[in-house]
């Protein structure tokens, strides 16, 4: 009888596992000093919201092509609380806070990306 799992299978699975982790290389771990959220609709930047230093609760609605998403910015977090899309995944994804965090509403082609600006010191060229 043939073995259930052979060596080629294990190598394949390990290889694919490594491929899964490659995006982690592109996420920076440095602590940024200014965090903001970019809201893009169909690839176009529609709003930039500063998150660091933000206090209180702001609510606004992004409308596009008859679709709408209600976005709440509370202190330094951003979340989608209401949407008229069929799957509501944008709401389920919860709030985003750290740079690299994203909230997507694919039916509406809406993407919220939390980004951070690196401290100024990084920009000074070495002498």
């Amino acid at each position: 009888m043939k073995k259930m799992l052979n060596r080629a299978d294990i190598l394949l699975i390990i290889l694919l596992l490594f491929i899964s982790l490659t995006p982690l290389l592109f996420l920076t771990s440095q602590k940024p000093d200014r965090v903001y959220a970019d809201i893009t609709v169909e690839g176009k930047l529609t709003r930039r919201i500063p998150l660091s230093g933000h206090t209180g609760r702001d609510i606004f609605v992004i409308s596009h092509d008859g679709h709408s998403n209600t976005i709440v910015v509370e202190d330094d977090t951003i979340a989608v609380t209401e949407a008229d899309c069929p799957d509501k995944r944008c709401i389920l994804q919860g709030p985003a806070q750290k740079p690299g965090g994203i909230i997507a509403c694919l039916p509406h082609k809406l993407l919220i990306e939390v980004k951070g600006e690196q401290p100024e010191a990084d920009l000074i060229p070495m002498r």
Partner: protein
């Protein structure tokens, strides 16, 4: 298999995978990342790939299921994601099977993985950038795990199904 037997078998497989797809929709799952799911219907795709003599027939079962599933409760967006995930996953599984080096476990794991790659590629085209690949460290292992478990189930089923066909 004569032509009539083949049509009946294809119809049975399509019906079963559609039933599994709808059943999966009833199972509540914790939300991990957008697109993460069990992919129960892939079990039938795998069985089709192993029991049908031509890969084109297995592809037919897959296409029919995706089309019917999106009619039953998906819509155009879901159709696009199922199709991009399904096609890439099927291509990967068919090629790996053809190489003859892998067991259903490995092939199914790769299928689960490439389903997510396909979906992320489609999502990147819609969003207009590769940002969503940030979910790959979660989605990739999820796909490998569900694929692995389905592969195990499929190999248990295949032992019995060969006697009938």
């Amino acid at each position: 298999m004569n032509p009539t037997q083949k049509i009946v078998y294809l119809a049975l497989l399509t019906g079963q995978s559609l039933a599994l797809f709808l059943l999966e929709g009833l199972i509540p799952l914790p939300f991990l990342a957008p697109g993460a799911k069990l992919g129960l219907a892939n079990l039938i795709t795998l069985i089709a790939l192993y029991t049908l003599p031509r890969w084109q027939d297995a592809a037919l079962v897959l296409f029919l299921r995706i089309l019917l599933a999106s009619l039953f409760g998906g819509g155009p967006t879901i159709l696009l994601y199922s199709l991009s995930g399904g096609v890439l996953s099927f291509a990967a599984m068919a090629l790996l099977k053809k190489s003859g080096r892998f067991t259903p476990l490995g092939i199914s794991s790769a299928g689960g993985f490439f389903h997510h790659i396909g979906q992320l590629l489609a999502a990147s085209l819609i969003i207009g950038g590769p940002q969503l690949f940030a979910y790959l460290p979660i989605l990739g292992p999820c796909g490998l795990l569900t694929g692995f478990l389905l592969g195990g189930t499929a190999s248990k089923i295949l032992v019995h199904i060969k006697i009938v066909v």
